[in-house]
């Protein structure tokens, strides 16, 4: 059976190619003959390596997105932005405080934000970027860390920011401070590490190492795993290895 392919024109860095209209920008570029060694990573919209900027016909807007997620559209003009220069505030995590003053010292440009919201509009992960930048400005590191959690560091917000903020690195600092100084320490982890060191699991591991394939399969099938939708009160039947 013959399949009809609808070809559309796209312009990659100024040169026109006819590509099928069912492809993402990344696949369209490969269809056109590009071999991607940079600006291409997970192909699943989560690594942030394949930023692009583009315009569509009959629109004044500068659009940005990820090449592996954005669809090729008729008449689009695009450029790839595999990397966007970000400023990095070098710091020793043990010496900086989880306070707004740390951001003032390392990323003073954050306070130039005029709340234009262009960063939020450009985010392929639909993060409320402007809101987390404003959380930083008012010293709310918890909110900044939580709002920015999905950041893939593609740098598209930075490419569009009139205040020249390096959002992704500001967000990383917020999450480092959150993780190291604000969230409670996992006391049970230290206890578990002690138990590992004391050899609590040696015997069990030895048994597994000695077991043959059939025994391993049997143990694997009989294992007790946390169910997919874990109820709040779930606990394993055996506490032997906790």
């Amino acid at each position: 059976m013959e399949t009809k392919v609808n070809l559309i024109p796209i312009h990659v860095m100024g040169k026109q190619y006819m590509v099928p209209d069912t492809l993402t920008v990344m696949k369209a570029m490969e269809y056109a003959g590009y071999q991607l060694t940079r600006g291409c990573g997970c192909r699943g919209g989560i690594c942030g390596a394949c930023g692009i900027a583009f315009r569509l016909p009959d629109s004044y807007k500068i659009e940005v997105g990820l090449a592996c997620q954005a669809m090729a559209q008729p008449g689009m003009y695009l450029a790839v932005l595999p990397f966007f220069p970000n400023k990095r505030g070098i710091h020793d995590l043990n010496k900086v405080k989880a306070a707004v003053d740390t951001f003032k010292a390392l990323y003073p440009e954050v306070f130039k934000c005029v709340s234009c919201n262009t960063c939020t509009k450009s985010c392929p992960m639909s993060i409320e970027v402007m809101d987390y930048i404003n959380a930083v400005i008012r010293g709310d590191i918890v909110q900044a860390a939580e709002l920015s959690f999905d950041c893939v560091m593609c740098g598209l917000c930075t490419s569009r920011c009139p205040a020249e903020i390096s959002h992704a690195n500001v967000a990383i600092l917020a999450r480092r401070l959150y993780g190291s100084q604000i969230t409670p320490r996992a006391e049970h982890l230290a206890k578990q590490v002690e138990q590992v060191k004391a050899g609590k699991f040696n015997e069990g591991l030895d048994q597994l190492k000695k077991a043959d394939v059939n025994k391993l399969k049997e143990l694997y099938k009989a294992r007790e795993a946390e169910p997919d939708n874990t109820p709040d009160e779930w606990a394993p039947k055996s506490n032997d290895y906790l």
Partner: protein, 293 residues
Amino acid sequence: MNKISYYPGCTLSNTAKNFDLSARESMKALGWELDELPRWNCCGTVYSLASDNLINHVAPIRLLVHTQELGRDKLTTLCSMCYHTLKMSNLMVQKDRDKLEKINFFTKDKDAEYKGRVEVLHLLEILKNDIGFANIKEKISRPLKGLKLASYYGCLLTRPKAAAIDDVEMPTIMGDLINSLGAQAVYDPCLTECCGSYHTVMDQEVVADKAERIISSAIKNGAEAIVTSCPLCFFNLDERQKNILEKTGKAYDLPILYFTQLLALGLGLGPEVCKFDLHHIDPRPLLKAKSII
């Protein structure tokens, strides 16, 4: 419980938590909830006077859009700088529809268009007009007897006239509140002088001079503390007493207070809502001497 949309601003969420907490708790005691906007950004800090610099008005207008989206027509704030920026930007777009249209055209991708109908109010205006100082007086369980206080308005609460919460030259709104709390408002001619504002970053000496003039004038007129509504005025008058001491050897040790801290104490709330540990000059010895705490 009455509810009003509330914009705390960055400083009240950070270094001026004593202002924010004492206001929220006092208002609760008066039957009002300061309902913080669920999403908010920096107000812009300074009202831009450049006629062609509309981008600096996007931040305050965005906050008015958030208020409008909640179906509210009033937004209150405490910080003099936030109040001034919000009030002035609001007045600007209410007067100049072209500018409003331009800002809306810029922001409308994600946010609703601002219709220009939200009213920006300083909390002092709500205390005076919606609650009434006479009603507050009735609810005072711990009158601040024997406390002599100078009101300090600074630049932004009464200037320019369009944004003034009271008379431009001779405001009395804070003094009237002080009197209704059982304290005694003393007149101080420096009440609308500038504290030196952001010069505090670049030139602490200039601000120390300004602060000394304001503080010594208040003391000369019998004040035992100065009352303010601005975290920057507060900082310049409180913290810069360090510089005055270094420079002149004079230790004025004059406590600076937010009007909401006095309101909280008058309403019988505990000193913990006033967070006096955030003050450079500790007001507690004075308040203890007057048997207020």
